[in-house]
Structures are given as C-alpha cells and as structure tokens.
C-alpha cells in the first residue's frame, strides 16, 4: 500500500472531496491556530470552566515535571499512555523513568518500539520497520511465553498482557490531536481503542497538547478530523474520534476523577515569530510527507529523523531540539514532493533549505556539493574543450580521481558536452518574425552545453507556431544552491536572472524552458529567494515548453520519429508535479500518434538533480536504492520506449535500466512544409 498513498488517493476520489478548497480551509484554520496566542488562553479558561486543570509548560522539562507531580500526588508508580508524539518530544518516558515511574505504551506500534528499545520510525506507523517474525521473537523474550509469528497471536498476546495494566492504572496520559477553545474540549483519535481505555479506566487523565493545535471552534476541528484520517492512512475517519471536555462520573459517582491539560510551548512561541519556520506550526501530523518522501522511504525514520521523523521532522527538530539533532536534513533531495502532498500546503522544502543553510554555516560543506554548485563554470570549460573533455571525463582513471578529489561517484554516467553551445549555434541563424508573440527561451545548462539540439528543436517548434524567439543573457537556474543550503548565492543568481527576465516580461515576452527544474525554480523558488513584484511577475510568465504550446498543438504537423507497436512509458519528473505533472508532454506525444502511459511510483526516480551523482551512500547508492522500485515498474510495464522531460531523470533511468531514454522532442518529425501561420 506504499505507506498509505494508494488508500489516500482512493478515499479522496470516493468521497468526492474538493481537495484544493479543503486544503485552503485547513490551512487557514491552522494558520489562525498557530498564530493567535489568545486562542490558547480561551481554551484554558474553558477547560477550567468544565472542572479541569490547566498547566502551561514553557519547556519540555516543565511538562515532564508536571506529569511527575500528578503521579506522585496520586500515588501512581506507573501510568498508561496512548500514542503521543508530543510526549516523545519532551522525552517524558525517560524523564519519568529517572524518577522511578514507568510509562507503559499501549499503542501497538509504540509498545513494540518500547519493548525493542527503539525510537518510532514513522509518525503514524511507528513500528513500520519491524517484521512479524521479529516482533514475535522480541515479545517471546520479553513476556517469557511462546508467541507464534502470526499477527493474530501477537495481537492476543499484547491484549492479554496490557489488560491488567489498564485496569490497575491510576493515571492515563494521552496526546490530543486538536484542542477546541469554545468548549474546552480535546479531540483524541485512535484506531486501536487504546485511547478510549486510557481516558476511561484510570481515575486521572492527563492530556498533553502543543499550543499550535488549539483551534477556536468545533467546525474548525471537524475539518481537521477529516484531514487527519485521509492524509494519514487513507481512512474516511479514524476508528475512534473522541471529543473529551471533562471527566464523567461512573454509574453516577464522580469518584474524584481528575482531568489535567498540559499546554506545551517548548520553542513554539519562538517559531511563531520566525517568518520561515512559523510554517511548521501548521502541521497536522498526518505523516503524508514521509509517505511520499523518496529517501525516507529507503532509510526509514531512525536515520531520517531524530524524534520527529521525515521531511516535516527537519524544521521541527531544528527548532525544538536544536540544529545539532537536525543533521538528517542532508537526506532531503529537494524533490519538493512533500510540499505537493501536504494537506495544509506547508512549504516544507523551503524550511529544509533554511535548516541546511544553518547547518552548512555551522559545519561546512562537502566538496561534492561545492563542485556541483559550480556546475555552470564547469560546463563552460568542458564545452570549450569538448571533445577532449568528453574523452577525458569518460576515462575510468579520471573518474576514480574525480571520485577521490571531487566526490563525484565513478559509477554515475555524466552527460557529455557539445563543442558548440546553443547560443553559438543560434548566432548563425536568422530569427523568425513571430506574429503570435515573443518568447525568451531559458536553456538552463542542459540545452545550452550538453544538448543544444534539444534547444534548437524547441525554438524551431515555437517559431513554426508563430513566435519570435530569443535566448536571453541569463545564467543557469541554480537549483543546487537551494538543495545544498547556499541560499545567499541562490538569491544573488536569482536576482541577476530576474533583472534580465523582468525587462523581457515588461516587453511582453513569455519565458519558456525545456527543463522542468528551471521552470520550477522560476515559478516556485525565485519568488522566495527574491521577494517582491519582479519575481512574481516573472513567475507568472514562465512556462514549460509543452504547457506553453498545448493550446496550439493542432497547428503542428508532427509525426512519430519512431515506428512502434507498443506504448511509450512516460516518467514524470518531481519538479513537474508542482507544475503540470507531465500532462502536456504526454498530450504532445499522443497528438503525434504515440500511445503513452505514465509509469510511476508516485515518488522520485532517485537522482534528484545532482544528489545521485555524489559519491557513496549519501548520493549514488541511496539514489539507486530509491530508483529500484521505479526501474522494476518500467521493466514490468512492457513499454517499448521510455520518455521524460528532465535531463537528470533521464540519466538515472539510463543508469538504472540500461536503455535509451528519450526526450519527447527527440520522438517527433515535422512535415517539411511549414504550417500556414495564420
């Protein structure tokens, strides 16, 4: 089930949920909740009016201390607990253990982690890394009775083992998915039913809630409840959604039952004031970002996480636990998919880029990353000296040396360089006079230095359709600066490119590129690097080639350059998922007469720009491990040709599949006669 991705898609379709509208609503609810301090005060007042007690914990320590005091006041030597990531954040179990009080995990996944002495590896599926064989062996040893490696035996053993502890517990601790200020209520969502027992059997219930989780009204909470279930596991609703406002009597007897709510700050107020990291407070902890993250999928949460795992775990860790614990930021490959899937539209990639920036400032930068950030200078030299450079760069001894000195993995095929760049070749050409409009073609590195033919073909198509085309004096788009945390350099480069492009846009030019990453940078990243109207204006006029020509495809007389019986397997580059998801490029091929099918895992192919060119595990090896599922799907698909728009994805597919990978423009011919252009 791909960590819930397939279920999620099916549920969204079945319920006819208007996802973009829902996303906007959830976002505005969370933004208010995260930014307005008066909501927590109103919540506290309402809890007290219902007879509960409230404690504001400024730090993790304060929170643990309060739980300890309550246990002592009630003579409890242990407590039962249902899943609460916030309690993990404050390391409550350890803090209590140091004072002689045991916290017993009752969520199956958390319990398994506790028995194994490991940290949870996923927000929603904490024991996702364990097999049933291993679980059975572990429990057999821990419980001293034979347990078969069957899920049903494991379940009965755990049920039987935990029951007496539930029944004997005086104190129960839960997290809270949501707090509701108007009625002083909390929402506790569980699938296993342990939350029901923890909040009904013990005499004392302590709920721990981060202050960003409190919303004003029940209607706000209702939307979040739906968001949690769909995004986390693809359910319509979590099995038990409990709305708890106070303790209830038992058979008419109040029995001295207590309700405590700990509202935790622990760095949240500071995050609230930070223009970048305040975004993280919008998280609803559904885990969708880790379900889609390519490198999390291979490494799991023990590697890709500290206490908060996965993509959103990076900014959370840096802020609540500190930069030293957030080193796993470098596992992020900047594919941007976490932002695309997030039900609250949180710009996780941008926060991660900021954490990487702080990290390289504090700890320095690997040589390979410095090399790839100099890609443009390197391409210029290599292109000037091609074909010598190509022979040199493909020599095994040179590759070994490059690996040792520059950290470029010797196993990775590198693109070759063209002797004459796109701009040099265009000098000999007379530009067409377009009646439809003017286009500035943004070549980026690949269409300039590696494959100018691709650039020429794109320009030819644009001219045939009736545009006049020029290649402006821009540099490359500079994605590696963002991937490797050099945001100052990225901003400088963006500002320079924007000055050139801004003037052109003023003159009525549209900006078009064949490289999805370049379009992604222009549309999504430059406006963050250089805040203001200029970047917004350029973003609004930047397009992928196929998206730009789509309305006029009927005017193109294109025929297939390859005769095939089967179909074309199409790979959608991650950065294009934020733009057009490859749809216009697939239409383009279909229009020319091909049958096209996307072949996809829903996540990255693994190369992620230059990440998969870096030497060793944190590069080539991880990138191939991520790609394996996609390679397998391509092999099993029976496709006859493979196409993708991205220059780097095509390197990855070639290395993974040992097959020819085509750009859609390589796959068509035009009729020799020019189409009538009016």
């Amino acid at each position: 089930m791909e960590r819930g991705r397939a279920n999620r898609a099916a549920t969204i379709q079945q319920t006819g949920l208007d996802l973009p509208a829902f996303r906007d609503r959830v976002r505005s609810i969370k933004e208010t909740a995260a930014q307005d301090p008066s909501i927590a005060d109103a919540f506290a007042e309402a809890v007290r009016a219902n007879g509960g007690r409230v404690f504001f914990a400024a730090t993790a320590r304060d929170g643990v201390r309060y739980v300890l005091d309550i246990c002592r006041a009630n003579g409890a030597e242990f407590l039962v607990k249902s899943k609460s990531l916030t309690s993990e954040e404050i390391e409550m179990n350890q803090g209590l253990a140091a004072e002689g009080i045991r916290a017993i995990e009752t969520d199956l996944g958390e319990l398994l982690c506790q028995v194994a002495g490991e940290k949870p590896s996923h927000l929603v599926f904490p024991a996702i890394h364990m097999t049933s064989d291993r679980i059975a062996r572990m429990l057999t040893q821990a419980y001293g009775e034979a347990i078969a490696p069957e899920p049903s035996s494991i379940l009965s053993a755990v049920r039987a083992r935990l029951r007496p502890q539930f029944l004997a517990a005086t104190v129960g601790v839960t997290g809270a998915n949501i707090g509701i200020a108007e009625t002083g209520s909390i929402v506790v969502e569980t699938n296993e039913g342990n939350g029901r027992l923890v909040t009904s059997v013990p005499r004392v219930h302590i709920a721990l809630i981060g202050l960003e989780k409190i919303v004003r009204r029940w209607e706000d909470a209702a939307d979040l409840v739906r968001g949690h279930a769909i995004s986390a596991t693809g359910q319509r609703m979590t099995v038990y959604v409990s709305l708890i406002s106070q303790r209830q009597s038992v058979a008419g007897d109040p029995m001295g039952r207590e309700f405590h709510v700990i509202i935790l700050d622990n760095g949240r107020t500071r995050m609230r004031a930070d223009p970048v990291f305040r975004e993280a407070l919008n998280c609803i902890r559904c885990g969708a970002c880790m379900n889609v993250c390519p490198t999390y999928g291979v490494t799991g949460g023990h590697v890709f996480g500290h206490i908060y795992p996965g993509p959103i775990g990076i900014p959370w860790t840096a802020n609540v636990h500190g930069l030293e614990d957030a080193g796993f930021a470098h596992l992020c490959v900047s594919c941007g998919l976490c932002h695309e899937i997030c039900p609250v539209d949180i710009d996780i990639p941008w926060m991660i880029a900021k954490v990487k920036e702080q990290d390289v400032d504090a700890h320095g930068q690997p040589i390979a990353e410095r090399f790839f950030m100099a890609s443009e200078a390197f391409a210029k030299i290599a292109s000037l000296t091609a074909p010598f450079a190509n022979g040199f760069l493909s020599h095994p001894a040179v590759r070994v040396a490059m690996e040792k000195t520059l950290g470029v993995d010797r196993r990775r095929t590198l693109p070759s360089f063209a002797g004459r760049t796109l701009r040099q070749r265009l000098r000999l050409r007379t530009p067409g006079s377009g009646h439809l409009g003017r286009v500035a073609f943004f070549p980026d590195l690949y269409a300039e230095y590696n494959n100018p033919n691709l650039g020429l073909k794109a320009i030819e198509i644009l001219e045939r359709l009736g545009y006049s085309v020029r290649v402006p004096d821009v540099q490359w788009s500079g994605m590696p600066y963002v991937s490797y945390g050099r945001l100052e350099k990225a901003s400088k480069l963006a500002a320079r490119n924007l000055r050139v492009l801004g003037r052109l846009v003023e003159e009525g030019y549209a900006i078009v590129s064949t490289e999805p990453t370049a379009v992604y940078m222009l549309r999504k990243v430059y406006p963050k690097l250089v805040v203001g109207d200029l970047a917004e204006k350029v973003a609004a006029r930047s397009h992928g080639l196929f998206e730009f020509i789509e309305p006029r495809l009927s005017a193109l007389q294109a025929t297939p350059a390859r005769e095939i019986d089967g179909f074309v397997g199409f790979h959608i580059p991650c950065h294009d998922r934020a733009l057009s998801s490859g749809i216009p490029a697939m239409h383009f091929l279909e229009r020319a007469g091909y049958r096209v099918r996307p072949v996809e895992t829903g996540t990255c192919c693994g190369i992620a720009g230059t990440f998969g060119m870096k030497e060793g595990w944190l590069g080539y090896e991880l990138s191939m491990a991520v790609g394996e599922k996609l390679f397998e799907q391509f092999r099993a698909s029976g496709c006859e040709l493979i196409a993708t728009e991205s220059s780097v994805c095509s390197l990855q597919l070639r290395d993974g599949l040992s097959r020819e990978i085509l750009h859609p423009l390589d796959m068509i011919h035009f009729d020799s006669s020019r189409p009538s252009s009016s």
């Binding site: 219902n50 599926f125 899920p151 002083g184 209520s185 209702a222 038990y240 409990s242 058979a251």
Partner: protein, 184 residues
C-alpha cells in the same frame, strides 16, 4: 449498511419491536457469550434487552456500584450500548456519554453491540459533525458529554501495515438498526 460493512462492522436491521430481543439473543449466542454488560440504553428499551438476554449473566451498569463497574466490563464477553445517531455515508456510529459506564461497556468487552434508532441516521460526515457540535455547544460547562465517533471495530496497521482487528477495543462491532423505534 454497505458503509458499515466496508468498515468491517456488522449491521442488522431490526424491523419490529419484538424482534429486538430475538436478534440480540442471536448475536450474543453467536459469540457464545455468558456475561453481558449493558449501559446507556434508554429505560424504555431495557425490558427488551433483559428479555433477550434471559438466562445469561446480565448487568445493567446503572445499577452496579461504581467501584465494580470497570471489573464488570472487563469480565464481560459482550457490551450493549446506545448510539445517539450515525452517519449513513461513512458508517460511523456516534456515542454520547454523560457517564463513563457507557464508554467502558463499549470498549472493554471483545464484542460490542450498539443499538441505533434508524430514524436518527444523518446523511454525511458534514451533517454528523454539525450534530455533534450542536450537542457540545448546547451543554453547560461542567456538564458536557463525551462524544465518540466509532467507525468499525478496533484496528491496527502496526504489524507490517496489515489491517488487523481487535487490538485493544472490541474485535466485533454489531450495529442493530432499530427501524421500529420510537414506535407507537
């Protein structure tokens, strides 16, 4: 009913008043149950429940000393409770508890039978959420009910992402849809 089955809950239509006792008995016998706890069921329905469970050990929790309630529920094979309303599209039944005996009876035994008046079905989750909000808001501070949306039996995906039922809460959830209720 389809929505309930999708959630692995078992729906049972109860068309006439007398059949309430018979169907309840049939369900309880199907699980070879000996001990049953009942909570939160409207007083008008209690004789029907008692009638259906004749001969078994049955405890109406309202009549049990408070200190013995948890043990009674923990020892029972079946808990019978009441749903205030339910959501037709999603199969979620909604429990409204002013006393925790209802929640204990619904979560400690391995089998949960919930009685639901068919006329109180609402169509979709939006309506269901609005109804819950209404209940919550109209209650006074300090007298607010605990409201729980229950979507099928207890489940977990924690072992190899396989869906398994009955980890802490009930393994089986039977929903008796009382078509006849409130009756004339």
């Amino acid at each position: 009913m389809v929505a309930l089955r999708d959630l692995k809950a078992e729906p049972h239509a109860v068309v006439t008043k007398p059949s309430t006792s018979q169907i309840l008995r049939f369900l309880v016998d199907g699980h070879h149950a000996k001990r049953v706890v009942v909570a939160n069921v409207p007083s008008a329905l209690r004789p029907l429940v008692a009638d259906g469970l004749r001969g078994l050990s049955v405890q109406f929790l309202e009549e049990v000393p408070s200190k013995d309630v948890v043990k009674a529920c923990a020892d029972a094979d079946v808990g019978v409770t009441w749903a205030e309303f339910a959501i037709a599209d999603d199969g979620a039944v909604v429990e409204v508890a002013h006393d925790d005996s209802a929640r204990l009876a619904a979560s400690l035994p391995i089998v949960h039978v919930v009685l639901l008046p068919t006329e109180r079905l609402v169509q979709d989750i939006g309506e269901g959420m609005a109804a819950a909000g209404q209940l919550l808001r109209s209650s006074e501070p300090g007298h607010r009910p605990t409201i729980t949306f229950i979507s099928g039996p207890s489940r977990t995906g924690d072992i190899e992402l396989r869906l398994l039922y009955g980890v802490h809460g009930p393994h089986s959830l039977h929903v008796m849809l009382l078509d006849w209720y409130p009756g004339r």
